[in-house]
């Protein structure tokens, strides 16, 4: 009698399950868990890219917290979030709220808003970069001058460059937010609105007392997904600033670009991984807060 014949049905099933899982489990260990562990280790070391690494304790972290460039890019990263999140959610909610009532060419209009979400961020970053050029090249300044308004420096300005780089990221993400909001609005039963209407409640009260509270899970989901997106901004900055440096004078440089530069321009893997740990902790905190809030629902 072979080994296989002595197994119970349950044992056979378990053996099949593990046979299906063995390759994937190995993959997750080698390509996700081991590198995560390695990343934490590299952040405690110094040395050449390929050669032996010296353990230096928390030196990279000490250096990071004393580095004005780190604090600059940390601040920039949160500026992207602090401007991008409210602006994008307000626009996308307004679009979804009104689009929900429109029947005529509904699908077509929705498609217009959605299509930027699917396109390559790199390609669109270059189109926007061209829009921002000074006259006689850039579209925006040509429009301003046609309207008799003063020219704007956009990407060349210390203050305007960050919002200018952010704009295509907001633009590209709107369609996703609109689609999710529309699904959330559809899920609210009509009976709530009918009851409110019978009671003679005005549209603003309906929006604040019925629609928004019932959209809370949708809103929470979008806040988390979009926050993570804005905190990880990279493609736009790399392609819209001179030599991909996040200039002028680091005015637009986000954390991910600084990590990229530390690792692949300066070849300081230890310092770069120390910064990725900060990104990890911030993203983890957002996810944990989301889970807490969802559980309290």
């Amino acid at each position: 009698m072979s080994f296989r014949d002595t197994m119970t049905v349950g044992q056979k099933r378990a053996a099949t399950a593990w046979m299906f899982l063995i390759v994937p489990v190995l993959f997750f260990v080698v390509v996700r868990f081991w590198p995560t562990f390695q990343s934490s280790w590299i952040s405690l070391t110094e040395g050449p890219m390929m050669g032996p690494r010296d353990f230096v304790g928390l030196d990279n972290y000490v250096r990071m917290f004393g580095d004005p460039v780190f604090w600059k890019v940390f601040g920039n990263t949160f500026k992207y979030l602090a401007i991008g999140l409210p602006v994008s959610l307000t626009i996308s909610f307004a679009v979804a709220y009104y689009l929900d009532r429109v029947r005529f060419m509904h699908g077509f209009i929705r498609a217009l808003y959605f299509v930027p979400y699917l396109t390559t961020a790199v390609a669109m970053a270059w189109v926007w970069r061209w829009f921002y050029e000074p006259v006689p090249i850039g579209l925006f300044n040509q429009i301003l001058s046609a309207m008799g308004l003063p020219q704007q420096p956009f990407l060349r300005s210390m203050t305007q460059s960050l919002p200018s780089v952010l704009a295509p990221a907001v633009w590209a993400g709107l369609g996703f937010q609109v689609i999710i909001f529309l699904a959330g609005l559809r899920a609210i039963p009509d009976t709530y609105y009918e009851a409110a209407r019978i009671d003679g409640v005005g549209p603003w009260t309906i929006l604040w007392e019925i629609t928004l509270p019932l959209l809370k899970p949708t809103l929470l989901f979008l806040i988390v997904v979009s926050s993570i997106g804005f905190l990880r901004i990279f493609d736009q900055v790399y392609n819209m600033t001179v030599d991909g440096q996040g200039g002028p004078l680091n005015a637009t440089r986000p954390l991910v670009l600084n990590i990229y530069n530390s690792a692949f321009v300066d070849y300081e893997m230890g310092y770069a991984t120390a910064q990725t740990m900060v990104l990890f902790v911030v993203l983890l905190a957002i996810t944990v807060v989301q889970l807490r809030l969802l559980r309290s629902e």
Binding site: W18, M50, V102, Y113, L139, I180, R232, F264, F280
Partner: protein, 281 residues
């Protein structure tokens, strides 16, 4: 507007509704402006670029001919197409196999495997690219298709999505197939898989698009320009042609038009997929 369009509003057309519709449509046009200007400029000669006329005075395909003349863009296209297709096939196969196993088998360690895979969703790619790079250079994977592809061959998100959907497949169906003598693998492939096609198509579309537009990892792992993917190639091409905006726009158009065509063809599935995966995940 025809009679049917008016009745489609259900209520009589009121000025407010017309105004709402007009504003939404205008906003929609503004949304696609970058595409329109991109395509318009790609059809212009260098001396016309500064002429913001929307329809070019003398439209020409000369920029496209120049772009494809040296074969670089063609190579980048082939690279992106091959890597995105293989990654998508691998994700569909493995993620659904894992999702099915976790949803339909009872065995010791199941909960642990699921939690472990789920927890990888919290690890940002940016944290992994440095170890991946070190690993790739030790293994000789830099500047290779395998190097571009290996991090994405199985995804935690897809496992999570597929597990949710396989959970809705009735156990009775699987047991009936067992009684009929089908092997466990064939039960998954022939009985369970056809029942989750909406989830599979959503996963396929997003995996493909995600890999087609991916920038950070391909930028890191490739330095040989023959192995660039479309976004990395476009980025380097545009930096070299900074002052030739008609060429930059042609490159951008060439990189974007395939996804636009895919979107127009599969619009219904894509939007359903966003809702499906967005709200489930």
């Amino acid at each position: 507007m025809s009679i049917t369009d008016i009745t489609a509003f259900r209520k009589p057309v009121r000025p407010v509704r017309v105004l709402t519709w007009t504003l939404l449509a205008m906003g929609g046009i503004v949304m696609i402006m970058p595409f329109l200007f991109m395509i318009s400029t790609s059809l212009k000669t260098p001396d016309q670029v500064y002429d913001l006329r929307f329809i070019p005075a003398r439209p020409t395909l000369a920029n496209y001919a120049e772009l494809f003349a040296d074969g670089r863009f063609t190579a980048w296209f082939v690279n992106s197409l091959i890597t995105s297709t293989i990654v998508t096939a691998s994700v569909l196969f493995f993620d659904s196999l894992i999702g099915y196993t976790l949803a339909k088998y009872r065995f010791r360690g199941r909960g642990l495997v699921f939690i472990a895979i789920l927890s990888t969703l919290m690890i940002p790619t940016e944290m992994l690219v440095i170890p991946w790079y070190v690993m790739s250079s030790h293994m000789g994977w830099l500047d290779s298709y395998w190097g571009i592809m290996f991090p994405g061959l199985i995804t935690g998100f897809g496992v999570f999505l597929m597990r949710q959907f396989f959970g809705t497949v009735p156990d009775e169906l699987i047991d009936a197939a067992r009684i009929d003598g089908l092997s466990e693998f064939r039960i998954w492939w022939e009985i369970a898989m056809p029942l989750v096609t909406p989830a599979l198509s959503a996963l396929a579309i997003f995996t493909f698009l995600g890999n087609w537009t991916a920038f950070l990892w391909p930028l890191i792992v490739t330095s040989d320009r023959d192995l660039f993917t479309v976004p990395v190639g476009l980025s380097s091409f545009a930096s070299e042609n900074l002052t030739r905006w008609e060429m930059v726009m042609t490159g951008a158009a060439v990189s974007t038009i395939p996804t636009l065509i895919v979107f127009i063809l599969l619009q219904k599935y894509i939007i359903r997929g966003v809702v499906l995966s967005g709200l489930k995940g």
